[in-house]
Symmetry: C2
Subunit: 322 residues, 2 copies
């Protein structure tokens, strides 16, 4: 109404009617969520599954007061009383295999979140990758944000030509009926049920892998338990270069890289997770090895360095060319 009145006034005074809108409307849309880098001859494509934004739960960090968590969020220029968790799988072209590590939150979450998460298929398409081309899916651990993307909305294999390979220790724990019967009601029982839902339809495609072995050419599985009993990280190596794909050794670096002694509510064995965290970060900081974190801000690759009693995450410089 104000704009219309303005145009009228301009006309009444014989002034030119200035345009009140840019010729181009606001785009209202983010750039596609993929990013590429090389590790020697291996081509890595980080593909985001999106982000969940939610009120900060009281127990996000189980051994620290919410007030302390808020301080850490504000120190990282993030809003207080709010948590943003991002999910960033990687595709690795080893030259002989096209490998996806972890699959995102899947089609149900995509629907429920109005596309905020479950965006791996969208961003794979933006990156020019056809799910049919994926030769292997490597799963780091059996939480929903890593396994739920294995199935399409109608319960079919999302990567129809892929072998799905999982940590032997993770399979043993989550597929054990005894463990399931002893699981606390609620989240833990839900995870057991979800893993049966996801893996039952694709059982014939599933293989198990052991730690310290090459899972795919140039991709070695590394034990990094605590977050789950079979939680696995990877070293990708080629041509004398390496990157440490940490999976969920930590969630958001502003909280848990900065404060390795903080216990994420989702860490199943929090003490063990902390031990793993320190071991991994002492190693990568000493060796100056780049780290990819599934829950690090996209494109989720950088360095971790020691800083006081904790560590600091230094994101890699975005390169406009590959």
């Amino acid at each position: 109404m104000a704009a219309t009145a303005g145009v009228g006034a301009a006309a009444a005074f014989g002034l030119p009617a200035a345009p009140t809108r840019a010729a181009a409307p606001a785009a209202g849309k983010q750039a596609p969520g993929f990013y590429r880098y090389k590790v020697g001859d291996i081509e890595v494509t980080v593909v985001t599954d999106g982000a969940r934004v939610f009120p900060l739960p009281d127990d996000m960090v189980s051994n620290v007061k919410k007030e302390e968590v808020n301080k850490a969020l504000e120190a990282a220029y993030m809003p207080k009383d709010q948590m943003t968790i991002v999910f960033n799988p990687v595709v690795i072209n080893t030259g002989s295999k096209l490998v996806l590590i972890d699959t995102g939150n899947g089609p149900d979450a995509f629907k429920q979140s109005n596309g905020a998460v479950g965006a791996v298929p969208t961003n794979l398409a933006a990156a020019g990758i056809d799910p049919k081309q994926i030769d292997m899916v490597i799963i780091s651990h059996f939480h929903g944000d890593h396994v739920n993307g294995l199935l399409t909305a109608d319960g079919q294999p999302a990567y129809p030509n892929a072998e799905v390979t999982v940590p032997a220790a993770e399979w043993k724990f989550w597929m054990d009926d005894g463990e399931m019967s002893r699981a606390p009601k609620g989240r833990m029982e839900g995870l057991f049920k979800n893993n049966r839902r996801v893996f039952d339809p694709i059982k014939s495609k599933v293989t198990q892998y052991e730690w310290k072995k090459e899972v795919a050419p140039g991709v070695t599985a590394i034990e990094s338990v605590g977050h789950t009993p079979g939680h696995t990280s990877y070293v990708i190596s080629s041509g004398g270069k390496s990157v440490f794909v940490q999976s969920d050794v930590t969630n958001h670096p502003a909280l848990f890289v900065r404060h390795p002694d903080w216990h994420l509510t989702f860490d199943q064995d929090a003490k063990k997770a902390e031990e793993t965290r320190r071991k991994v970060y002492d190693m990568v900081s000493a060796e100056k090895m780049p780290v990819h974190g599934f829950h690090y801000p996209f494109p989720s690759v950088g360095h971790v360095e020691k800083d006081g009693s904790g560590y600091r995450y230094v994101p890699a410089n975005w390169s406009p060319v590959l």
Copy 2:
């Protein structure tokens, strides 16, 4: 050859011939170089012009030994003896105007660099922005990486429907024949000539702006001289949110945010540039105002905080949605 031999051996032994290449060839191409964020109601699109990679010049930092510069590069996990400079203009949709701040290295540099720089037109297209839609081009200062994109390869206005607005102090200096006659041969004389080459064909479109004034709705020009005599930064403000578009207050943050006392060889008045740098960073760090840096790693937006005798750049978290 080795792969062929392998297939032959597999056949000879009656083994299945394993594929020796991924079904999908390596993409070999980076994601498009644009990124969006909101400042209140204003939509900002960072559009990269690309990166120059070159051997570290002895005098990159005029008042510090090359050895010290190499230490800073290595501390930032960048290769020593090599410099990478990136160029990241922004497009601002204010709701009433579509505004481009600075234009990149232009078509000649695009050709000479095989597309490594001069990529603004490519990335504008990727972002869905037609150069004809740009209502205004704001120039921060008269260096080639900021003004050369004003013309197309055949010397026509690259933004045919745009007013081109420039700092009055910058125009005064570079268009002054006396200043030009006193300029040292080489780089400085070249800059004077280049500015005449660029601005002559579009003179009728050029307006001049003053500091402390709104140049476009929500975009206020801020004096930040030293790098050049009329060097300008901007505060973009809307709905109680602001971002400080610093232009070239510093070049790469790993060198000059970290070490504000280091003098970039391209800073025309190095002492004044240092003074401006400290003033700007003291302000933005105290106010926790986000900063966009033309030469910061893409997407070039984050916070600057005090750290010892210098500052530290903390990149913003990439958001998968707008």
